[in-house]
Symmetry: C2
Amino acid sequence: MISLKNLTKVYATGDVEVRALAGVSLEITEGEFVSIMGPSGSGKSTMMNILGCLDRPTTGEYFLDGLNIAQASDNQLAEIRNQKIGFVFQSFNLLPRTTALENVELPMLYRGIGAKERRESALRALNAVGLGNRVHHKPNELSGGQQQRVAIARALANNPVIIMADEPTGNLDSKSSEEIMAIFQQLNDAGITVALVTHEPDIALFSKRIVRFKDGQIDSDETLAQR
Amino acid sequence: MISLKNLTKVYATGDVEVRALAGVSLEITEGEFVSIMGPSGSGKSTMMNILGCLDRPTTGEYFLDGLNIAQASDNQLAEIRNQKIGFVFQSFNLLPRTTALENVELPMLYRGIGAKERRESALRALNAVGLGNRVHHKPNELSGGQQQRVAIARALANNPVIIMADEPTGNLDSKSSEEIMAIFQQLNDAGITVALVTHEPDIALFSKRIVRFKDGQIDSDETLAQR
Ligand SMILES: Nc1ncnc2c1ncn2[C@@H]1O[C@H](COP(=O)(O)OP(=O)(O)OP(=O)(O)O)[C@@H](O)[C@H]1O
Ligand SMILES: Nc1ncnc2c1ncn2[C@@H]1O[C@H](COP(=O)(O)OP(=O)(O)OP(=O)(O)O)[C@@H](O)[C@H]1O
Ligand SMILES: [Mg+2]
Ligand SMILES: [Mg+2]
């Protein structure tokens, strides 16, 4: 369902070129649970942003369910982002002046889902990540790990078919991390595709395949013994 | 050198009260290396912000080197923040429109250190955290882990006597994390006091004492076998 072919991403900062991705090819089939690991700066978020239709590669191709993303209209891309993909950003990207509840409802609002259903979905997602008693707090009234969990709830509440999570447990203690990973596993068991970036080996063990990055390329790709 | 007595921090959000700290007492002597652990939302950052003179408790007392912080003037507090303490924020707090180099130089600028010395110190700190080839990048031109390392370099470049780091390796792979912890250990061996919040047990093992939070209070306080 996801097919990346020879992606490159080159940034020109001043007169220096940074090759954030230097030829990445990857296939992810429907229902897979893939972890993406690799050193800081090796290109993981850059690839995730392209996968999430938030950025375009410099060269190379991205096919999502047969659609060539490079040729998709802005409307088609917006529809994919709003309806197909639940994206958890490495730096959360919450709206600072709105509450946890409103932040979680936002993707559903864009999708045209009615107020009552949005509210129920958002409360369910916030409860699932342990934030039932923080729903009216704004981001600056929440701890780092709580903000991270709001970002996770926002990705889940919209019932996406693909979850893309960029270091979703970076600010969480082990118990909260395990609760989040249990949610991802349940969703994956129900057929949802999960791609998650992590730098913690214990977290990667919840997935079924580990793709490792190095210097903007894929260095290894290994299927884990079935859990 | 650091003495916290019965600290509380209470937030009123709407008509609900949140007791972020519910009576915290703690002593940290000069040259110690303490890890602070505990579940997400248990009060660790709240205490760190009070320790770093960035916030005040609701009740309780904080003595730093004999000075009662509650009675210190704003000038005295600014001097402590700029000259004594190197603080690494959980969410980095980098200035978005300035380069990594300028971000790292900023505390030294406030301290009145000359341009040449600031530049040399900043470059040395950025090299030490592996960012020698990213010094002119702005934060949005850096990966999450690179931004985190700029925040660490900024805390170190000013030669503080106390380092307070709030989850400094949350976005780093194991190799980068070990490099950062080796730096903290070297500084501690040279006499610098280190207090760091982490949720990773492997990181806590680089320290000499682990203080665990639970629901706004200290739950346990254990000295590790000497490394
Ligand atoms: N301005 C605020 N108003 C209301 N509640 C707040 C405010 N700031 C923090 N809190 C609450 O205080 C509690 C402690 O927050 P703190 O940031 O200290 O937690 P933490 O231990 O650092 O968590 P994490 O590991 O997730 O970073 C949290 O439950 C949080 O929701
Ligand atoms: N706008 C930009 N201009 C220049 N270089 C950039 C830009 N954005 C990212 N980079 C560089 O691209 C490289 C890859 O960044 P990316 O964010 O994908 O890394 P990452 O693997 O997610 O790292 P981390 O684990 O630290 O989050 C980094 O070396 C970074 O400095
Ligand atoms: Mg990243
Ligand atoms: Mg915190």
